[in-house]
């Protein structure tokens, strides 16, 4: 019964792992992995000394830290506030509606952004028109690129990301609230002194997981929103790997960049995990 799963995993997950060795080769498809010449760390050197390193690394870090600082705390706050509402129609409607955008595909979200932000049609242009102003082309402005990516993510996932915190909050012992009420604690006090501290372990666990993805800016959305005008702000490591590897067929170089990316991510995960273990006693392993 395990056999189909084992075979598929071996062919599609373990074989590509072996393929990582081409990062240390000058791979040519004609020779294959077995016969391509070994070049050691030459591919890594090439990337570390190219002007693309600074640009892609900077853009990747800007987008991921921006999204960490905005996209991570907001669902926590939302969950704390949602938890204050009494179960009823309003709460239910709110949840159904905020979860909804999560199911819209990245393609449609990017289509919406392009249409809404376009200067001669769409939502923003309409609002600008109402105020007798003209809207610039926001997607052509490198400065705004990270904001567009991050805030559209917030719009799409704010509600959905709060589910896990709500589940944690729902598990809090109700007698704690009763005791607090009797002692004269207001709802706000309860939120600060009961909900918040009890939610922290969940928050930290998710934060560690998130830290491991700091260089893993989602490829799909950035790739779709990228254009020649905003490329200085939108070329991130993953889009660069895609372009070098699949459009320019530089298989070895792009595998090396991908590996470099993965190793840094893993190192970050371990570091944050260790820091968290030291200070808060919460850790993944």
């Amino acid at each position: 019964m395990l056999l189909p799963a084992v075979i598929i995993l071996f062919v599609f997950a373990y074989l590509p792992m072996y393929g990582i060795v081409i990062a240390f080769q000058n791979y040519s498809p004609a020779l294959g992995v077995m016969h391509s010449p070994w070049v050691g760390f030459a591919n890594f050197n090439e990337f570390l000394h190219s002007y693309q390193l600074y640009r892609t690394l900077k853009n990747t870090l800007v987008i991921s830290f921006y999204s960490l600082f905005v996209g991570f705390p907001l669902p926590v706050i939302l969950a704390l506030l949602t938890h204050q509402l009494r179960t009823g129609m309003f709460k239910k409607t709110f949840q159904v509606i905020t979860y909804l955008p999560h199911f819209i595909s990245t393609m449609i979200i990017c289509g919406m952004l392009v249409m809404f932000l376009s200067p001669n049609s769409g939502l923003v242009a309409m609002v600008a028109h109402l105020f007798k102003a003209t809207a610039p082309n926001y997607l052509a402005m490198p400065k705004l690129f990270s904001s567009i990516v991050v805030w559209s993510d917030v719009w799409q996932n704010l509600g959905w990301d709060s589910i896990i915190y709500l589940a944690a909050l729902a598990g809090i012992d109700p007698t704690l609230y009763e005791a607090a009420t009797i002692d004269g604690a207001t709802k706000f006090d309860q939120m600060r002194h009961i909900d918040y501290p009890l939610l922290m372990p969940t928050v930290i666990t998710l934060l560690i997981l998130r830290a491991g993805g700091i260089l893993g800016v989602g490829l799909e959305k950035v790739l779709l929103l990228q254009n020649n005008l905003n490329i200085t702000a939108s070329e991130v490591i993953s889009t660069y790997v895609y372009k070098m590897g699949l459009l320019n067929s530089q298989f070895s170089l792009s595998t090396a960049i991908g590996l470099f990316n993965a190793i840094i991510n893993f190192a970050l995960l371990l570091t944050v995990n260790k820091i968290s273990k030291h200070y808060t006693d919460t850790s993944l392993f």
């Binding site: 081409i22 498809p29 204050q84 392009v114 001669n120």
Partner: protein, 307 residues
Amino acid sequence: MQLVNQKTHKPRLRQRPFKEVAFDWGIKILFSLIILGIIYPLWFIIIASFSTPADIMSGNSFLWPKVITFAGYKELFSAELIWRGYLNTIIYTVVGTFVQLAVNLPAGYAVSRSELVGKKWIFLFFTIPMFIGGGLIPSYLNIRNLGLLNNPLALILPGAVSTYNILVIRTFFKTSIPESLWEASIMDGCSLFRYFIQIALPLSKAIIAVIGLWAAVGIWNSWFDAMIYLDNENLHPLQLVLRRVLLSNEYLGQSGANNLISHTELFNRAQMMKYAAMIVSTLPIMCSYPFLQKYFNQGVMIGSVKE
């Protein structure tokens, strides 16, 4: 002592202080604004698909289309590529979901059995790919070496095994199906395989629904694998066709061949068609969402209380 305490505090509970009432209302107002912020862009797409771009720009169709027109949908229905994409996506979604269930359910069942040998190694084998992957290029070269380029199987097989889902299924089988059922079946001479098909599966409708739904939504919305593995545009799924319509500004309607139409009119139709395309492609998910919402949430909950 307790009695006194209750007496002095009861009025406080009934008549809530102003601060608390204000806090409650503050949350409600904030939440109403969030609801509005999420609903309006979606509503705007619906309006825009039914009105002319001129009406949209002038703000005449702010809440409701001033003049309802079906031109966008007409254009859309004339674009053959979109419908082929639709059909492809439906086929990939149905087959892909079936494959995922067919692979993960038996695997989850197998690891839930306590008499399984080499459990530790099997567990390791399944969890390693959760953390380490080959990356984009090695995966691509792997598919190419297997001769799966331009083959829809390249979209279905690589993502078919989900360790996370296998763990969820294992937890379900362990906690929801009583061991005595298995013992009784063995007594009656039932084979392991038959027990799985005839007894365990019919009892697992809830988990099948959750995992199947997740798989279906995932496949419906995906496009990246199709972009790198499929060159033949007749095999392209809907999302990839949408990319040409929405982002590359390609015009796929029939009116493009008609020279009698002015440039502005062509632009207008293309614009309406884009909005219509967004509506039509998201419709299946949005229509089923209200009914399936509880299953989706269940999926998250099962995951979060694992073990």
